[in-house]
Each structure stands twice: as structure tokens, then as C-alpha cells.
């Protein structure tokens, strides 16, 4: 096989559909060894970008390169990029295994590999049933199996979590991480940040055909409102005094609860214990990825619902 640096580069992609600008100068890079989340509201251009990466749609400007080469230049694409665009893109009368079989034949991939990937995604027993009878979760697994068929270093998944049950979601998160651990480049799109919260290492956030943020998950969380500590204590006044003296911002949120910003939970415990202030409960409150994402995309939501007036709602 050709030496492939599994980096995916997207440079200045532009694409219009009639009067609608789907992509407006999109650029980002996906690197191997981590799961990159590709997030944005519906209609942000995620699927269009993935179709251009796979040579299915042509860009009006810009390019998408896999290991430095355009998709059309790949002679054995299944060995270089595995993709799942739409889990329901299988003929309902064809058995799951047969769907993988024709794909395998197109690249002279041995039949045993078909059974291997079915095993890998947990469809070994369902492979001989017609795809029309599959649940959405099983179709997602079949789509992932077809992406893995050529054992490629680059994997693209469009909304793989969509429609999965909680068990399936847990499975796919672990699966994506293990694929990345093997050194593969894994790009996963989703319109819900929460789906990626536990699996993505890096995020590319898009809205209206542009990149809004291209950052690691850790950095994104840091830019969002900082960490807070919730505290329950009967000695509210004493606690406030001790913590304020240490430079923390303290807010009273109830009769016996306080919210502390600034020091970490460990530091708060240390301070209160040192001063002999009793407390019954302490918990760290982390900003969620969802909150950070909402902050970022708040102005670019194309079809944002109008804010509900609470007076009217009542």
C-alpha cells in the first residue's frame, strides 16, 4: 500500500446550491490518533463537506485532501478511507452480509474480512438477515462495518449516533475511541454536542458553512464559564468569610447552599477544614460542552426558535 499520512485537509471549500450558500470558505485539518468531532446545527454544511471529501459532490472552490491526495486520485479508496454517510443506504431486500460482500468484491477483499467486520460490530448473527428488517441501530452497525471493510487509516462517520439506543451509544463511543487509539483518523459529525461529549478529543464547530471553532475539547471548556463548586453547609456565614478571604467569589444560592468560583473543590475542602468550618456536602460543577457549544453557535443558528416569552407562556 502507498504510504499514507492519514491527515485530512480541507482548504477553502465553497459550495452553492442555487441561491443557498452551503459552504463559505471552510478550512480545517483532521489529524490521526484522535476522534475529531464535526459539529454544527442542521444545515451547517457537515454532510456536504463529507460528500466533497469522498468525491461525491464537487466543490465550487477549494479542495479536500486525504493524505495529501484528492479522493479521485485514490486507486483503492476502501483501503484508504472508510465512510458511513447514511445508515439506511442499503437495499432492504439484500442481506446485510451480501451488502458487505459486493463492496468487498469491488476491491478484491477476501470474504473472511466480511465476517470479521460483522463480528467486530456485533452483527455476526444478523448478517444473514435482510437489511430491510434491521433496526436503525443495526443499520448503523452495518454502515460502520462497511467503513471498516478495507481496514482504512481514515474513517468518516456522518451522524453515527443518530437513532441509537443507550447501549448502542455507549458501544459506539468506546468503539470510536479504540479506533483512534490504533492511530486512525476518525471524523465524526453530529448536530448534538452532547453526543460527542465523551468521545471526541478535538472539535471542529461549523455554522452557516464556516468554521466557528477548531479546538480541543479541553480548550473549548476553558473558554466557557469556569468551574464552580457547590457547597452545602449549616455555617454559611463562616464559610463565606473564609472563602472570600482566600480570594474566591462566593454566592449564596439557598438557605444552606453556596456556589464558589475560583478555587478547585480540593482547595475549598482544604480551606474549610483548616478553618474548622463544618460542611455536609461539596460537589464540583463543570461547565458542559453543550453550554460551551450553545455559547458559540448562539448567533449562527440558522433555524433558531424564537425565544419564548415567559409571560406569554404562562
Amino acid at each position: 500500500m502507498d504510504s499514507i499520512d492519514g491527515t485530512v485537509q480541507v482548504r477553502g471549500l465553497r459550495k452553492r446550491f442555487g441561491s443557498v450558500t452551503a459552504l463559505d470558505g471552510l478550512s480545517f485539518t483532521v489529524t490521526p490518533g484522535q476522534v475529531t468531532g464535526f459539529v454544527g446545527p442542521n444545515g451547517a454544511g457537515k454532510s456536504t463537506t463529507m460528500r466533497i471529501m469522498l468525491g461525491l459532490d464537487s466543490a465550487d472552490a477549494g479542495e479536500a485532501l486525504i493524505g495529501g491526495r484528492a479522493y479521485h486520485a485514490l486507486r483503492t479508496p476502501l483501503h484508504e478511507v472508510g465512510a458511513m454517510l447514511d445508515a439506511s443506504a442499503v437495499h432492504p431486500s439484500r442481506r446485510g452480509r451480501d451488502h458487505l460482500l459486493w463492496l468487498a468484491h469491488s476491491h478484491r477483499i477476501p470474504v473472511r474480512r466480511v465476517d470479521e467486520v460483522l463480528e467486530q460490530v456485533g452483527l455476526a448473527s444478523a448478517g444473514r438477515r435482510r437489511a430491510g428488517g434491521y433496526s436503525l441501530g443495526m443499520r448503523q452497525r452495518l454502515g460502520i462495518a462497511s467503513a471498516l471493510l478495507g481496514d482504512p487509516p481514515v474513517l468518516l462517520f456522518d451522524e453515527p449516533v443518530n437513532g441509537l439506543d443507550p447501549e448502542g451509544i455507549r458501544w459506539i463511543r468506546g468503539f470510536l475511541r479504540s479506533l483512534a487509539r490504533e492511530g486512525r483518523t476518525v471524523l465524526v459529525s453530529s448536530h448534538l454536542m452532547s453526543e460527542l461529549e465523551d468521545s471526541a478529543d478535538h472539535l471542529v464547530v461549523v455554522g452557516r458553512g464556516r468554521v466557528i471553532a477548531d479546538t480541543s475539547v479541553r480548550e473549548l471548556l476553558a473558554t466557557a464559564s469556569g468551574d464552580r463548586v457547590s457547597l452545602r453547609t449549616d455555617a454559611r456565614t463562616e464559610a463565606m468569610t473564609v472563602l472570600a478571604a482566600a480570594g474566591a467569589t462566593v454566592a449564596s444560592t439557598g438557605r444552606d447552599t453556596l456556589t464558589v468560583s475560583g478555587p478547585s473543590a480540593e482547595k475549598v475542602v482544604q480551606l474549610l477544614s483548616g478553618a474548622g468550618v463544618p460542611f455536609s456536602e461539596i460537589s464540583a460543577h463543570r461547565a458542559t460542552l453543550e453550554e460551551a457549544y450553545m455559547e458559540l453557535t448562539g448567533d449562527v443558528l440558522e433555524f433558531a426558535a424564537a425565544p419564548v416569552d415567559e409571560e406569554d407562556a404562562r
Partner: protein, 516 residues
């Protein structure tokens, strides 16, 4: 799967799967796998075979052909080479032991009483003997086709376009087995019509004057029904200035082809006995009949393959679905992502569906022929009025194999339409408009328009099912109802081939450019 903590920066290298190649053979194999793994499509193919055979058998069971007048011919004699022939005419002749020349002036040629046979014949004729089917060469004037030099029934060569109403000088020279024809307007300036070698004209032969006047076919064509009537005709020719060099013996007058004691099925002139007289070197001959290859009116092979006309609908639907099913569910993206050279994918699909349709079509047409032939025979379609056909006869083999090719090309055309339109319903409707509608319409439209459809729409492919040999020098009715295509089998299937290649080519061009 390994759980080893490879440093994340080391890109993944596959160890599980050897790298394959993206050759065309793999594409064929992938597309064949797609085709065979949808059971419904297998059933559609089976249905196409069954429909074809059943409709063919039904057509054979219910076939009725009616002729008014004298279409009922007796057993024809055969000419040199075993061709079935018609050989009956009025002949005034004498012996010609060696080389010689006959020169005449055809003073008058009155054709027909009522209708004029375009291939009426009057002129000079050298024949081995007066028996029907004997080898001959003749130089003649015809009402519709000028001067002709013909020999041994199937060979025809054109001379001038001289009209039958004007006197014409004709000369035929024998030099061994080489016969040379000349014509002249005034008996002074001669031009050569041609020279032919007639191997049968050895030793003593007959030389003389003749007249023949074939049956005239007229048809009455109405919505869904045709009646053909054949009327006998009689023509009279007057010759003067008759000179025969090398002739010997007296002039004799013979109705060639007439069997004495006719039983109504005789092969003699249907228009009655010929007459001829000679006075002062002036010969007057009146007669009927023809000197020509015999032709059948009913194409039994095409009739036993008529189920193809309905079988094609299922084959076309399969061709369309083979691509539109992928578009409908977005599977086409998986296909084109796996094989980015989309044109090759489409060609691979065309090969797979074409070969499959050919195989199914071959099973269907061989079975249709073998089952329908005995039924047709039992229904009265038997010799001598109808030919005895074998699967291994050249024209039958062409029709049977051609029907399979026809279905293969229809499948490819349907695939191309499916790729262009991307919608099952639209593509199937287009195929129906292209094939089925003309098939129904040709029997009801005026014959000129019907023959236009037969020649220039994809329908032309059905011409390949014709097995009747047609000669340009014999008047024939080419009726769409009888499966007659004016252009002949090869041009017909070639026309469909052009359509299929053009539509597939257009589809390849579009698919390569358009977003998926």
C-alpha cells in the same frame, strides 16, 4: 482489535487486509453480486422468461391467417440451388444446340386487366428446357422496374429505366455458359445490360420469347385487422423483327409450369392458359405466372417469438431498477465512494445487466420457439403452404439469438435511462413509451407512419426476429401486422444498438459530471 497504546501520532497501517486492486473485473464481480443478492430481481428475470414463453405460446395457439382470393399456392418446384420458386409463364421457343443470339423488338407490352403487376415480365429467355425450375437467363422489360437481366430466379440486374409503353429492342447472346444482354431503342445503337454466367446452360438449350404476369396483392388495412387479396393478372406482349442465330427446329408454344389435368392445386398459371400466335414473323404472347423465388407471407419464427414484446417490459424494469434502486436509498454514494470512476461503474453495470438479460432472453426465445412451433404446425401452419423450421436454420438461429440480444440491448437502454432520470417511475414510463406504445400503434397507424416508427425508433430492434428472405425483384407487402420490418434484421438490431450505446454514453457523461 488491539488495545495497545500506540502513540496517537503514528498513523494507522492496516495489517488485516491485503491491498486490493480496482480493476474492471472487480467492478463486474461487485455489480454481479449486487444483482444476484436481491431475490426480487431474480424473480423478475424468471417472470420475464415465463411471460415471454407464455405469450409466444398463446400467440401460436390463437393464430389465424386468412387469405381472400388465390393465396393458396400449391407446392412450388425448386430452382438451381434448391431455392423454392415460382416458374410459370408463356414461352415460344426453339432449340439452341450451341452458341447463338436472339434479337427481338418488343413492340407492345400490355399489362394486366385491371391492375398492373409491377414485376410483369416480357422479353427473351434462354432456358435449359421447358421444365419448371430449369436453369435460365432472361432479358426483359417490366412495367415498374425498366429493363432487367435475370437468371436462375434469385439473380437480378438492372438495365435502363425504359417504360413498358414504348417499344424496346432486346438481345441475348449465348457464349458457352456466359449470357450477355443488350438493349436498344432503335435496333442500331446497343448498350450492354450485363453478362452473367449460368452454369446450368450446357449443351442444347431452348431459346425464345416469353411473357409472365404475376399475382397482384392488394390489402385492406383497418384498425387491428388486415385482409390481403391476391388477384391473378394477364399480360400480352407483341414481338416483331425476331431473329435467332443458331436456333434449330420449329417454334413451339408452351405454358411452362402447367401440369396437365390440374386439380385446382396445380402450379400452372392461375390466370388461365396462355395463348400465343405467330404470323409473318410477328409473335403475340399472352400469359400469367411469374419467374421468381417463392415467398412465404407468414413468418412462423417471428410469430413464435412474439412473447418478447411483453417480456421486454420486465427486463426493462429490471434494467431501470438496477440503478434507480441505488439512487432511491442513497446507496449510489456507497457505490461511487468505493469506485470513484463512475463511468466505469455504469459500464460494468451495463455489461452485467446486458449479459444477464441475454442469458434469460436466450432461455426464453429457445423455449418459445421449441414449444410454439409444434402448436403452429398443429394449427395448420405446415408445409407446403408454410415452411418447416428448425432451430438450427440460419435465419431461425439469427432470430432466436437476436431476440436475446434484443432483450440485452433493451436492458442496457433501460439502465442508461435510469441513470439519466434517477427515478424508477419516470424511467420505466419512458421505456414503455419507447417500445410498447409503438408496438401497439404500428398495427393501427397508416402504413407510412408505422414503417417510420419501425425504422427510426428503438422498436427497430424487433426486425431481428424476421426470418423471411425478401428479394428486391419480387413485389411483396411488408405489413407491420405480420412482423415485417422494411429495413431487414441487421439494420434493425443495429439501430437499437445505436440507441443503447447513445443513451448509455449520455448517462456516463452525465454521471461523471453531476453531484451524487
Amino acid at each position: 482489535m488491539t488495545d495497545t497504546q500506540t502513540p496517537p501520532v503514528t498513523p494507522y497501517r492496516s495489517t488485516a487486509v491485503p491491498a486490493g486492486r480496482d480493476g474492471f473485473v472487480q467492478l463486474l464481480r461487485a455489480e454481479w453480486t449486487k444483482l444476484r443478492t436481491v431475490r426480487r430481481w431474480g424473480l423478475t428475470l424468471l417472470g420475464a422468461v415465463l411471460v415471454t414463453v407464455l405469450v409466444s405460446v398463446f400467440a401460436a395457439t390463437s393464430s389465424k391467417v386468412q387469405f381472400a382470393g388465390g393465396g393458396d399456392r400449391g407446392p412450388e418446384p425448386t430452382g438451381p440451388g434448391g431455392v423454392r420458386i415460382v416458374d410459370s409463364f408463356r414461352y415460344a421457343h426453339q432449340a439452341l444446340p450451341g452458341d447463338g443470339t436472339i434479337t427481338v423488338r418488343l413492340a407492345e407490352f400490355r399489362t394486366g386487366e385491371g391492375s398492373t403487376p409491377e414485376w410483369g415480365k416480357a422479353g427473351v429467355l434462354i432456358k435449359k428446357d421447358a421444365a419448371p425450375g430449369a436453369s435460365y437467363a432472361a432479358l426483359m422489360l417490366t412495367p415498374g422496374h425498366g429493363v432487367r437481366l435475370q437468371n436462375d430466379f434469385v439473380h437480378d440486374r438492372a438495365g435502363s429505366n425504359s417504360p413498358a409503353g414504348e417499344p424496346r429492342w432486346l438481345r441475348l447472346t449465348r457464349d458457352g455458359t456466359t449470357l450477355t444482354g443488350y438493349e436498344s431503342a432503335d435496333g442500331k445503337e446497343w448498350s450492354e445490360v450485363g453478362a452473367v454466367t449460368v452454369p446450368g446452360l450446357t449443351g442444347t438449350v431452348q431459346v425464345g420469347l416469353f411473357v409472365a404476369s404475376p399475382m397482384v396483392d392488394t390489402m385492406d388495412r383497418q384498425f387491428g385487422s388486415v385482409s390481403v387479396s391476391s388477384e391473378p393478372s394477364r399480360s400480352t406482349a407483341v414481338f416483331d423483327d425476331v431473329t435467332v442465330d443458331g436456333g434449330s427446329g420449329d417454334w413451339r408454344h408452351t405454358d411452362v409450369g402447367e401440369q396437365p389435368g390440374g386439380d385446382g392445386q396445380s402450379s400452372g398459371p392461375v390466370g388461365g392458359e396462355g395463348e400465343s400466335s405467330e404470323s409473318g414473323g410477328r409473335f403475340t404472347l399472352t400469359g400469367s405466372g411469374d419467374i421468381a423465388p417463392a415467398q412465404y407471407n407468414t413468418d412462423l419464427a417471428a410469430m413464435s417469438l412474439s412473447g418478447t414484446q411483453l417480456g421486454l417490459v420486465l427486463i426493462a424494469a429490471l434494467g431501470v431498477l438496477f440503478i434507480t434502486a441505488e439512487y432511491r436509498r442513497g446507496m449510489i454514494r456507497t457505490t461511487f465512494a468505493a469506485s470513484p470512476r463512475r463511468g466505469r461503474v455504469l459500464v460494468a453495470k451495463a455489461v452485467v445487466i446486458g449479459v444477464t438479460a441475454f442469458a434469460a432472453g436466450l432461455v426464453a426465445s429457445v423455449a418459445s420457439f421449441l414449444i410454439a412451433q409444434p402448436i403452429l404446425k398443429a394449427n395448420g401452419h405446415k408445409p407446403p403452404r408454410f415452411p418447416e423450421l428448425q432451430l438450427t436454420d440460419g435465419p431461425v438461429l439469427r432470430a432466436v439469438l437476436g431476440s436475446a440480444v434484443l432483450l440485452a440491448l433493451i436492458a442496457v437502454l433501460a439502465l442508461g435511462l435510469g441513470a439519466l432520470l434517477r427515478r424508477t417511475a419516470g424511467a420505466v414510463a419512458t421505456v414503455v413509451v419507447l417500445f410498447v406504445a409503438p408496438l401497439v400503434l404500428v398495427t393501427t397507424l397508416p402504413i407510412g407512419f408505422a414503417q417510420f416508427l419501425q425504422q427510426f425508433t428503438p422498436l427497430a430492434g424487433f426486425a431481428v426476429q424476421e426470418t423471411l428472405t425478401r428479394y428486391d425483384h419480387v413485389a411483396t407487402l411488408c405489413l407491420p401486422e405480420e412482423g415485417c420490418y422494411p429495413q431487414g434484421p441487421w439494420i434493425g438490431i443495429g439501430t437499437l444498438l445505436l440507441y443503447a450505446v447513445a443513451v448509455l454514453g449520455l448517462a456516463v457523461w452525465r454521471v461523471r459530471r453531476r453531484d451524487v
